[in-house]
Symmetry: C2
């Protein structure tokens, strides 16, 4: 039993490895990484930045698949153990609310989660510019696109796994039309997933002490509800003379007012070090998009994109990561505010 | 009586001058421009990009005022004839919905209009980046800020003067954090001015034949309802080796589905030529923000910012401008679509 409570279902069959002896960090890698390597299916050259979820006693995922023409679309995948994945060769076919085909021009960096009895996919879509796409499914057979929540330009839309104060809540990272040399995490609410508002600023990377997140930050997996607040893994980006470097950070948001940051680690909790993270289509990228977590034991398995090429897996426990976040907490100006201006 | 009908109140006391003999354009300048020149009030060095409206038989305006410290805020102004303006020395003090002071860090490029029994100011505000601010007033004494409609980064929010299909409708121009070398006009709907959605793309400048609007475009005055559709003046921007040049364009949007462009002139209808437009704090800017218009006669008076320094005034009639727009119509790819992607 964990000391800090995860408020979610038990999920005893998630992948797990104990922390290696002599390893110091609060998040440790799966020993057999990457769990998905190059060319995982016919005509798919790379899979990364993808999301998985428990489904009917097994696991299902929505994967960012770069086909051999280089344009990303979303593909389903299936697994009994959340480690060995079978990826569908055909992309997900979306329909509009009238049931007619309504395919995005491209789709990348999906998140996947369940709110009440419905599964939602959130991804970066082409809406006359990069923007957040949203679709729902109940059976992983029919995928119905809902209204795009926001105007462009935006990336890293992350829905919370339950309504807060009666509204759906989404994190996102307003951006520009290119590789965006800036970016903070914002939060928005919706009563109906059609109209969105009450936008709030959550957190900035630029204002923090550490340089690993000084260019931009963006949401990662769906927030995990805990007895200490919403546990959020996110990506932080720094710049070098040879490009950007993406690391993983952690924060805890207020449970009822999640635009307020309660705790936030000043340190990254995972940064590209292994060859499958440092070298690939885009070198030096760790980009978390999903977790599996077990309320009973407090185990958390984190799925992350690795160098825009592979899927990596890492582990922590709710006790260890919350304690680490508190112990390395940094009070960044504005973090404790509601974020209204 | 005009042939094309303006669907609005009569406003017989608007400023007016007939088109000068020998002048060819569809929009002509007021002979005594600028109507507001440099240093119009104590500690205000420049007023431009501002909005006026009829009020209690006279006229009232919300003005972008650059004080002697260079930061813009909004000031009220009053006029009996809409030509001679008295500008308040103190900025508008905004409050939040609880009545507490809630001042924007800066405020510029206001639009001002009435929907039903309430006046709305829309401006560019600091919401952890440039974004659309929104406030309401019924008496021009208390100005209550509503929720910011959109996430940053955005400029040129323009509310329609009535609900369409039961919803408030706003044009805006998603942008980036700087001087934004791109930009299309989008449309969003709201049932309550709190939550916004059903975002649609309206029009692009880049896709048009003419170069005067090839860098970006943005909404101008509140759309004018006519028997031919929503008459929209907008700004179009081109780039030169010495900076940007802002001209005024015109389009007519579908009355019930205003994300569809019915007609759109391929030409600018006013471009910086006079010294008060070509020279100032920012050279070569014509930036329309408001019209006064009279349903009875079809007269339209257009207020525009002039070189980020002064307020200019120009005239047309609904018959002349609609006929010109149709005669010079250019079918830009995507214009006739609903703008959903």
């Amino acid at each position: 039993m964990s000391k800090i409570k995860i408020i979610a279902d038990n999920l005893s069959n998630i992948p797990w490895e104990d922390k290696p002896e002599g390893y110091h960090g609060p998040v440790w890698r799966h020993s057999q990484n990457p769990v998905i390597d190059r060319n995982p299916a016919k005509d798919i050259s790379r899979i990364f930045n993808s999301a998985v979820i428990p489904y009917e006693g097994k696991f299902i995922g929505v994967f960012r698949a770069e086909t051999t023409n280089g344009r990303p679309h979303l593909h389903l995948g299936y697994s009994d153990n959340a480690l060995d994945w079978t990826i569908e060769e055909e992309r997900i076919e979306f329909v509009n609310e009238a049931g007619e085909p309504f395919q995005p021009n491209y789709a990348y960096d999906p998140r996947l989660l369940k709110v009440e009895d419905t599964y939602y996919i959130i991804w970066c879509t082409d809406f006359y510019g990069a923007a957040i796409g949203l679709a729902e499914t109940k059976d992983f057979k029919t995928f119905t696109r809902l209204e795009n929540p926001f105007l462009p330009f935006n990336r890293n839309g992350v829905l919370f796994p339950r309504k807060i104060n009666g509204n759906y809540v989404m994190l996102s990272r307003p951006s520009d039309s290119g590789h965006t040399p800036f970016g903070d995490i914002f939060l928005s609410e919706s009563p109906d997933l059609v109209y969105w508002g009450k936008h709030r600023h959550v957190m900035t990377g630029e204002g923090a002490e550490g340089w690993w997140q000084n260019v931009k930050i963006g949401g990662g997996p769906a927030p995990i509800e805990t007895s200490e607040g919403w546990l959020v893994f996110y990506h932080g980006v720094t710049g070098t003379c040879n490009g950007l470097v993406y690391s993983m950070g952690v924060a805890i948001l207020d449970i009822d007012e999640p635009s307020k940051v309660k705790y936030r680690s000043k340190n990254f909790v995972l940064t590209p070090e292994e060859s499958y993270e440092t070298t690939g289509f885009v070198d030096n990228v760790i980009f978390p998009c999903a977790t599996l977590h077990d309320a009973e034991t407090g185990k958390i398995a984190i799925y992350y994109g690795s160098a825009d090429t592979r899927v990596g897996l890492a582990y922590t426990t709710v006790d260890e990561i919350v304690e680490y976040t508190k112990a390395t907490h940094e009070a960044v100006p504005g973090d404790n505010e509601i974020g209204k201006m």
